[in-house]
Subunit: 356 residues, 2 copies
Amino acid sequence: MRIAVLGLGLIGGSISLASHASVAAAEVAGYDVEPVAVQAALGRGAIDRAASSVPDALAGADACFCCAPVGALPELVTEALAAAGPDCVVSDVGSVKRVIAASSADPRFVPGHPVAGAETAGIEHARADLFDGATWYLTPGSEASGVLYERLHRLLVGLGSSPVAIDPETHDRLLAAVSHLPHVLANVLVSRVAGLVDGEGLPRVGPSFRDATRVAGANPAIWGDIYAANGPAIAAEVDAAAARLTEVADALRAGDAEAIAAWGRAARSDRARVLATEGAEGPVHELRIVVPNRPGIVAEVALALGRAGVNIADMALAPASDMSSGAITLSVAGDATAARARELIEELGFPVGAPV
Amino acid sequence: MRIAVLGLGLIGGSISLASHASVAAAEVAGYDVEPVAVQAALGRGAIDRAASSVPDALAGADACFCCAPVGALPELVTEALAAAGPDCVVSDVGSVKRVIAASSADPRFVPGHPVAGAETAGIEHARADLFDGATWYLTPGSEASGVLYERLHRLLVGLGSSPVAIDPETHDRLLAAVSHLPHVLANVLVSRVAGLVDGEGLPRVGPSFRDATRVAGANPAIWGDIYAANGPAIAAEVDAAAARLTEVADALRAGDAEAIAAWGRAARSDRARVLATEGAEGPVHELRIVVPNRPGIVAEVALALGRAGVNIADMALAPASDMSSGAITLSVAGDATAARARELIEELGFPVGAPV
């Protein structure tokens, strides 16, 4: 299969690598406005042919992926569709879908969004397994060719992902709540606290603040595009959060202990419920241990679990303010696996607690 | 020095252990309403004497720490002051200070708050080094005895902490922004998303959601007390955040790209500024690497850094949705140390990027 990849960053580079790894007789032509990215992709063996233009990349292609920032996608998709043959499926990888889906009713166009790879950028972080097990949303229009949709679907399964068809409005609303709202809250939180830094002595803020604000100010260029493209859906989520906050503030001012306690209990069970939908291998358990924060200790714990074949789904090390010790939170999927992990850690001499 | 510790949980137990470790001729009498906690403290060698009541614990004491939940502190402090001799300093460890500080003008009472240990609970997690390098706020009233204040200050330095005097209103406002607001936002976020779980197919939510909501629903009993005691200050912070969110929603709806971009850039520099105040050994660098998520890899990275004496101040592992690979974010303090860490990791074959 001949595949054209337009835009050779993390996602485009990973599509290229994954195609070679798992699609029979894949032949990838790559194009990027930055010649250095094309050279890097050639150097990594991600692409077979460096294309000099969009039409050059599309020559003879069976499938095409447009991998540009959200704001640049409508123009790139239009260009790709103009150059693509009548039997070539054209998709994109934008994380907002309403605008791009509405931009073309061409039966060859099937918009998409792989939920993967937000953590790094650039061809140097591309990898063949980026999409393994990832949800890959597709938002086909009513005119979409069945034959081409099926070809794309099979190709995405070949890349390791699970394609899920969804209408673009639902997609954008979902992502607004799960992904975009957390970024907005992190930005607001960090700015509230930054206002204090220059004034009163700020205590060392600690791990809960670092965790809560890790995504604050994430790549302003990419996120500017996302906010612009999904503005209305994000604004609705932000408004709902603001309204809820105002209710909470009222309850706090009224000293309504029962309402506040009920709210805390609900948040606790809500989080457990949301995370439970995550675990492919059963419910995710969080284990909390306190260890001296000296080099080697995290490794010791990780090794003990590793030797027993227990995989750590998520790990957060929360050091004490002087870095002398730390509380490690480990997420482990599956009841039996979590019980085994607890046993192993306690054998090392560290008592395991649930998070308070 | 004879020290009375009332309440033998994480904080009380750690004060007891730290006293033995570093205060000359320390003799600790411990009391807890739960006999099992007293027995556990004896078993760990944290206390020298199991007291049968508050007055029994205070007999002959030079210093007393009241270590109960915030809501129970006023009564406990009153009881302790009634039993304490004329030359005994009485303090508490509540994380909200306005109410307790106003509850007594006794010159022997010096309210306090060690900023440590929010991550776990219970005597079994107590440790002698819990307060090493931690800020320990003190909110002495205008009647406080100079002699007793100085004794307490020296004792807290002996426990490893850095005592900082602050007025109770400023303390509560500061903690509302840095600690209490993040908890409120996490609760609101998790509840917004939980509302979607039962309806539309939720994509695997990923590490940014987990990080942002790690503290959601933290120990409802303890936090109910904190919300009750610091209600007005938290309400003011929550209102300010809600007002900011409404502005953001308006900018999103208006499609004001420049305002949104400026806001993202400000959040980025705000976070760097806040975290920079953290680093005792220089600015904190965040290094991002992508690794296969198989047992042993985290250990390999941790070991390579450990062997070179590079300490990991903070670590977050963000697995891909299928757990097959993960992005590790490592925080390392100090320019030179971070450069060395980057070198070591790249020698392992993992390219290091900055977070996007």
